[in-house]
């Protein structure tokens, strides 16, 4: 049912897109997304993928063209990264508001200035409020599988919301590993063709994407919110079907590791959770009850699942490649909100690292867990700390 291949995250995702049979692809190259659009171009050239490939002149047009194509009922794909994502930001709201189930891959990359092409997650986390489902992959296999699942989730009539699949720039997009590539037959069995009433119709013409004044606007926003919330259960259903078809299991909006009896739990996103789990394993061997939570879906945000995973902890850490200047990391804000909803008075600390592609090492990770232990013992640890930033005045 599948073919094992040694692929980068970008290449794996392109394979997933091929299997999903998008009818229109419009994309503009940007590092570190570029390999995806190169592979898709090759697939179209070879005839392995039958799609209209629009060589657009900008990211703004990439998503706008995808919106136009989606309005005809076509399955569409685009991909971007960083400044490109920001450049198409206004179009994100058109896609979400129009309830067009576009799937977009975003290669997580730092945002300017200083100019930097390396991985962090400030690009997508800064756009959480634009109505897209946001999911973060940990490895190339999950990236490929998410390409297929994202269409199922986005196109589910109860959801009808675009999905942004985030891959850590370089650490995932450019790292090669073994990936099971499903057969087209299995992919087709899992993902049927897209069918919708939200499209142009020559028998019964429609107006799409109109304006709506104060008397009506709120209903659209309310429904979008309700549907996004209920997408959590659709995600579970889609993953169950995915497991039945392909034999690979995913765990919903979060993934937990050794959390059941953990005192110190570190919450993170994307590939860095892999290192967190290795460090948890080391700490467990030393008798420290550590655990790791990987948030897979930032939107819809998994309040309940997080509360359940974190409620027994003595201290929670949130490690993220993001900072909301003048506030704190956005993931931290969201996690704290979940804890507050559960009425849990668990101390939590925010660790900001990996910005602009900076390494997060095993030693850094041990340091974070040491800080969590210190907090639990009543020690003083700043609410928000930047990893690897020396004290003011120190010569680097």
């Amino acid at each position: 049912m599948s073919d094992k291949r040694f692929l980068s995250g970008d290449e794996a995702f392109a394979e997933g897109v091929r299997l999903a049979r998008p009818q229109v692809i419009s994309a503009y190259p940007i590092t570190p997304q570029t390999v995806v659009v190169e592979r898709l171009s090759e697939m179209v050239e070879r005839g392995d993928l039958v799609a209209e490939y629009l060589h657009v002149e900008s990211e703004h047009t990439a998503l706008s063209a995808a919106i136009g194509a989606a309005a005809t009922g076509a399955r569409t794909f685009t991909a971007t990264s960083s400044q490109g994502l920001l450049y198409m930001a206004e179009c994100l709201t058109y896609a979400a508001g129009g309830r067009f189930p576009i799937v977009m891959m975003n290669a997580n990359r730092a945002t300017c200035l200083p100019w930097n092409i390396y991985g962090d997650q400030r690009d997508s986390l800064g756009l959480l409020d634009h109505g897209w489902i946001q999911v973060y992959a940990r490895d190339a296999q999950e990236a490929l599988d998410l390409a297929l699942m994202a269409y199922r989730i986005a196109e589910d009539p109860r959801v009808a919301t675009p999905v942004m699949v985030n891959l850590d720039g370089f650490a995932l997009t450019h790292t090669y590993e073994q990936v099971h590539v499903p057969t087209q037959e299995a992919a087709d069995a899992f993902l049927p063709p897209y069918a919708t009433a939200n499209r142009f119709d020559f028998e019964h013409p429609v107006n799409i994407g109109y304006s709506a004044g104060p008397a009506y606007n709120r209903y659209y926003k309310y429904r979008a919110h309700e549907d996004m919330c209920s997408a959590l259960s659709v995600i579970d259903q889609v993953e169950a079907e995915f497991a039945a078809t392909f034999g690979r299991t995913y765990t919903g909006a979060i993934e937990t590791y050794a959390c059941e009896d953990a005192d110190f739990i570190l919450v993170s996103l994307g590939t860095i959770a892999g290192l967190a789990e290795e460090v948890v394993r080391d700490l467990r061997a030393e008798g420290v009850k550590a655990g790791s939570v990987r948030i897979r879906y930032m939107r819809p945000f998994p309040y309940e699942a997080l509360c359940e995973a974190l409620s027994g902890a003595a201290c929670v850490g949130v490690l993220e490649k993001d900072i909301s200047f003048g506030a704190e990391g956005t993931v931290f804000t969201n996690v704290n909100s979940a804890l507050q909803r559960a009425g849990a008075s668990i101390p939590a600390r925010n660790f900001v690292g990996g910005l602009g592609g900076d390494d997060i090492s095993r030693e850094d990770m041990h340091g974070i867990f040491a800080s969590l232990q210190k907090v639990a013992e009543g020690g003083s640890v700043p609410l928000v700390s930047f990893l690897r930033v020396e004290d003011e005045g120190e010569v680097l």
Partner: protein, 118 residues
């Protein structure tokens, strides 16, 4: 089918009764085309009147009306010329029809005081 007037058989956005039921529209911005719920009659301070005796059916008023509010009646059997009327539900009273008429067959009159003032 709202947009096709049953009487005339032409395709045109048409007024209809509408009830606001959010569940019927709130999941996408995709809705039946040509769905009108309001007239534009209230915009008018004056209205055009057509003097049928002077009208040559040259159709310039029909062509140049930005609102499509000069409408044709279907020609009677055997008669080649359509006659024209003003759709007072949607005429905004701009007066373009009067200025483009070379035959003086249209004139603007004050809206106030008209029997069917809307």
């Amino acid at each position: 089918m709202g947009i096709s007037s049953k009487q005339s058989g032409i395709v045109i956005p048409t007024l209809r009764q509408w009830e606001c039921v959010p569940a019927q529209f709130d999941r996408s911005t995709c809705f039946e085309a040509g769905h009108l719920v309001e007239r534009n009659a209230g915009w008018r301070q004056q209205r055009p009147v057509i003097n049928a005796d002077s009208c040559t059916s040259c159709l310039q008023c029909y062509m140049y009306c930005p609102d499509g509010a000069i409408r044709k009646t279907h020609a009677e059997e055997g008669s080649g010329q359509p006659s024209l009327f003003v759709d007072l539900d949607f005429c905004k009273g701009c007066g373009i029809c009067v200025t483009v008429c070379r035959f003086g067959a249209l004139a603007m009159i004050p809206e106030k005081g008209c029997d069917d003032e809307r």
